[in-house]
Amino acid sequence: MIESVRAIVVENLQKSYGDVQAVKGIGFEINPGEVFGLLGPNGAGKTTTIEVLEGLRPRSGGQVMVLGFDPDRQRQQLKDRIGVCLQATNLPEKIRVHEALEVFSALYSRRTDLTQLTRRLQLEDKRDAFYGTLSGGQKQRLALALALVNDPQLIFLDEPTTGLDPQVRVEIHALLEQLKKECRTILLTTHYIEEAERLCDRVAIIDEGRIIALDTPRQLQQQSRSASTIVVTCARPFPQPRPAWAEATHDELDASARTLTVNSRRPAATLVDLVKWIDQQGIELTDVHLQQPTLEDVFIELTGKRLRE
């Protein structure tokens, strides 16, 4: 069976709610040990897709295999094997952290050492705390811990850092990187570009129920038709007139005439040309900054939309 080699195989997946088609035929494959990101704006169909794969919602069409199970037909077996961190779930206010771990652990056939799990997710101090007293970051760490109680090889993370402040987000990212090192397969949805860039081996950009691009973050950036931007700042104003730089498409001087912004498709060639001229002019170069196109730019380029609106 070819599917068993892949952690997840999705072919032409469709999902409708009444007349509304949320997912319009998407397909991708995820290899074991891979961290795969679904990137897209709110309402793009990311959560629907992931929930179909988790066995929470039946699909309307297409083929899906997750760990060799059909999520529609082998729901319980599948749920027993995967770890899930849902968006917007809650626990009772008065449940203690260790109790939550114990109860959820009891619902699976496979278990992991809860003490170790608690330590790994830095919840030791909060072991006996009530859920209601936890901070946002602690709650999210507990949610991650709950997703790991059955020691799953495949983990679904739906917007794992949404609504958290940047510092906590960094913490969570560190944890996810650790999971990645353990060679667990992770499917995450996010609308944070940097999260995808930092964590994902591959990213599918999804919009209005369709995948519009799928590659490694680097490849996606390189495929971009956008120009890079070079910003140079000198100790005194640029002399006039300026020459046309190699490969440059556009340049612009700011009001102080000491900072020059240049756009180029081949920033390396342009930068060499630019620095050489400045040196010839005998101007002291105080700063050089090269800005390559981001996933965000790629996204805007592909969809005409910003990720966060």
């Binding site: 988790e54 929470l56 319980q76 077996q77 749920k79 027993d80 899930v84 849902l86 917007a88 779930t89 809650n90 626990l91 009772p92 008065k94 449940i95 109790e99 114990e102 109860v103 959820f104 009891a106 619902l107 699976y108 056939s109 709950l146």
Partner: protein, 729 residues
């Protein structure tokens, strides 16, 4: 299994950490416990059983509807259930855990209530605790299932609140959990039969009070089990993990499936009324369980003894103690005080001779006379009049036994009934004359009122068959008569008498002439009914009566009634107690019928019968002088003799005849009880006897008519609500 255990343990911990859960499950009902205990005087009688049933059912309602129902909605609305959705469990462990947790949380509460009842209010530990806990368990499971199904069909918190209140409030107020059902009119009592909580209230109460078990409560138990199964199954089918999932309006109808078992039970009860009857019996038993101290009254105790200022303690339907003087400090005996100064307390009167099947008058349009209703109303009239026991002679067997059973069960409130069943008579003799003119098609029904043996053997068999039906006595009519009446053959009379004696049944004989009286005495009759209105009974016959211990039951009233009828008068219907008892249409119908010209031939034919009240009066006086044991019967049911008041009138005639009031009253109490062989239970004010008491204003020993100035009637410890006694019909 592991999952179930973990979820139950978690549910329990969470519940115990929730202050509202503790409050609503334990403290709140505790308040009810003490309030109800205070309101219902739980320290007295069996009122504690009511209080317990109430607080337990209030607890079950809260536990099921709020504990299971509202909480399930809360968990869904708070996105807690969603977290379970990604785990490999189905809704079943969650639903089961909720139900089991509810039960575990509830049981300590039940035991706490029992402990309070025991230690604070002296209620004995229930002997059938297993049955009670089983019923409560079924109740908790049933109501949790109802709660869960409500949660399943509610799309929002607001909706679930409305649904829960819709179920909660009627159950709370109509089931007897807050207002005792004894306050309900009959139609409302029927409505309550559709509510599961009603069966829980009456079930718990019956188990506590009547020591009923599972078997007697199987109908509601089965219905609750069905409710639980159907409820949990539907709750599983309609389970929603997320608040975003909404349920179709059509699916909300599935709530009906849970109500269905009790719709069925209710419909069945509309048909059988078993449960309504049970409730009545239960309430009766409760009313009979009270403890009170009547004091400051003159007591006519027993054996002609009078206590001028005494007290009677009534507890659990019995006379617990009789005191000379004011009696004990009420608090020490946990009794309510009933001050009765200026009053006289006598044992409840016993009417030794009544015809319950006849009304004592004529209703306008005889067609609407319902025999069974007539009989039960007559028994109510007796009780109203302070006659707590009657003996029926010559009534149709099936009907009278049915009424007796209903009274004995406590379903019907009325004088307790002893019956001889049908009268043994000669073909064409006394006791058969009423149905002789009937068309042949009516004869079989009418003949039920008599037994006409053809041979001594048949007579014996007929007696034995009556014995099998548990009659209390055997009655025969022996009348030579004038005109067409045939006299019962002596061999038949003796056969009946011997068989009755063999069957240990008092044998009682209707007589009209001296010859009949001597015949009855030879047959060893226990009582002579009427004696004679025609002939002076010789002193030697009275001496024989006194020697044999035969009771003499003269029934002067029927003689007076006869003379009034012949004279075309209806003075007897104008008496105060008769007017109170009525019913009004009977009295009016009788007056009208007797005033009508059509009754003239009847009067003329009656006038030919030779009946002289003065002879009967003389016979009674001499019977008294010769030391004959007297019993007082009224022969009520005959024209102008209205059930109840007739006995009071009889006593008055006796006193006018020269019988001392104390003797007359003893005849109508202790002697009557001896004739009925029930003297160990009724007829005197003695510890251990049934608390059947008549409290009257004034002193009947001074003025016998005081017996009609009734202040209170008590039957088996129940203070009868005389004003409401006719409402039950």
């Amino acid at each position: 299994m592991k999952a179930y255990r973990a979820l139950i343990a978690l549910d329990l911990k969470l519940a115990l950490r929730q202050r509202t859960v503790i409050f609503f499950n334990y403290l709140f009902p505790l308040v009810f416990f003490f309030v109800f205990a205070q309101a219902f005087h739980a320290e007295r009688g069996a009122a504690m059983t009511v209080v317990l049933a109430m607080v337990i059912i209030i607890g079950i309602l809260g536990n099921g509807l709020f504990g299971a129902g509202i909480r399930a909605v809360q968990e869904r609305e708070a996105n807690i259930l969603r977290r379970y959705k990604v785990t490999p469990i189905s809704p079943v462990p969650l639903l089961v855990a909720s139900t089991v947790t509810g039960w575990i949380l509830f049981m300590p509460y039940v035991l706490l209530m029992f402990a309070l009842a025991h230690f604070a209010y002296g209620m004995p530990w229930p002997v059938n605790l297993g049955s009670i806990l089983t019923l409560i368990t079924c109740g908790v499971a049933g109501f949790r299932a109802i709660g869960l199904i409500l949660a399943s069909v509610a799309n929002s918190m607001a909706e679930s609140q409305i649904l829960v209140q819709l179920i909660y409030l009627p159950m709370l107020f109509l089931s007897g959990a807050t207002f005792p059902t004894v306050m309900f009119p009959p139609w409302l009592l029927l409505v309550t039969q559709f509510l599961p909580a009603t069966y829980l209230v009456t079930g718990v109460q019956s188990m506590l009070l009547r020591r009923e078990g599972i078997a007697e409560n199987r109908l509601p138990i089965v219905a609750l089990v069905v409710t639980t199964i159907v409820g949990l199954f539907l709750a599983y089918k309609l389970f929603r993990w997320e608040k975003e999932e909404k349920i179709r309006n059509s699916a909300k109808l599935s709530i009906l499936a849970v109500i269905l078992p009790f719709l069925g039970v209710g419909a069945w009860q509309m048909h059988t009324r078993d449960s309504v009857v049970r409730t009545k019996i239960l309430n009766r038993q409760l009313a009979r369980s009270d403890t009170f101290l009547l004091r400051g009254a003159r007591l006519l105790v027993a054996d002609g003894k009078v206590i001028e200022n005494g007290a009677v303690l009534v507890r659990g339907g019995k006379i617990a103690e009789v005191y000379v003087g004011a009696g004990p400090e009420p608090r020490t005996v946990r009794a309510e005080v009933v001050e009765a100064s200026g009053k006289t307390i006598l044992p409840g009167l016993i009417d030794a001779h009544v015809h319950l099947g006849s009304a004592g008058g004529l209703y306008p349009g005889t067609a609407n006379y319902d025999l069974e209703k007539g009989m039960s109303r007559a028994l109510a009239a007796y009780l109203y009049s302070g006659v707590t026991t009657v003996r029926s002679v010559g009534d149709g067997l099936d009907g009278i036994l049915e009424v007796r059973a209903r009274v004995n069960r406590g379903e019907l409130l009325g004088a307790q009934l002893f019956t001889c069943g049908p009268v043994f008579a000669a073909g064409g003799g006394r006791g058969t004359e009423y149905f002789e003119p009937f068309p042949p098609s009516f004869r079989p029904a009418a003949e039920k009122e008599s037994r006409i043996p053809g041979s001594p053997d048949e007579a014996r068999q007929q007696v034995d068959r009556l014995k099998e039906r548990s009659v209390d006595c055997i009655h025969a009519a022996l009348e030579t008569g004038v005109g067409p009446l045939q006299r019962l053959d002596t061999s038949l009379l003796n056969a009946v008498a011997r068989e009755a004696r063999g069957d240990d049944l008092p044998f009682t004989v209707h007589t009209a002439d001296v010859r009949d009286v001597t015949g009855a005495l030879e047959a060893q009759a226990a009582s002579i009914e009427h004696g004679s209105f025609r002939e002076q009974i010789p002193d030697r016959v009275f001496d024989q009566m006194a020697r044999q211990g035969t009771f003499y039951d003269p029934m002067l009233s029927v003689g007076e009634a006869f003379e009034e009828l012949v004279a075309g008068k209806t003075e007897m219907l104008k008496r105060s107690l008769v007017q109170q008892v009525g019913p009004e249409d009977l009295l009016r119908g009788t007056e009208e019928a007797l005033a009508a010209s059509e009754t003239e031939p009847m009067r003329q034919s009656m006038a030919q019968d030779f009946i002289d009240l003065r002879i009967a009066v003389d016979n009674l006086r001499r019977a008294y002088q010769h030391g004959v044991l007297l019993v007082a019967g009224s022969d009520a049911g005959n024209l102008l003799l209205i059930h109840g008041p007739a006995l009071h009138h009889e006593l008055r005639l006796w006193v006018e005849a020269g019988v001392p009031p104390l003797v007359a009253l003893q005849s109508a109490t202790a002697n009557g009880a001896r004739l009925l062989r029930a003297e160990k239970r009724i007829g005197s004010i003695r510890p251990g006897n049934d608390a059947d008491l008549l409290v009257v204003d004034g002193d009947p020993l001074d003025d016998i008519s005081a017996t009609e100035r009734i202040s209170m009637v008590i039957l088996k410890g129940e203070r009868i609500d005389r004003a409401a006694i006719f409402d039950q019909h």
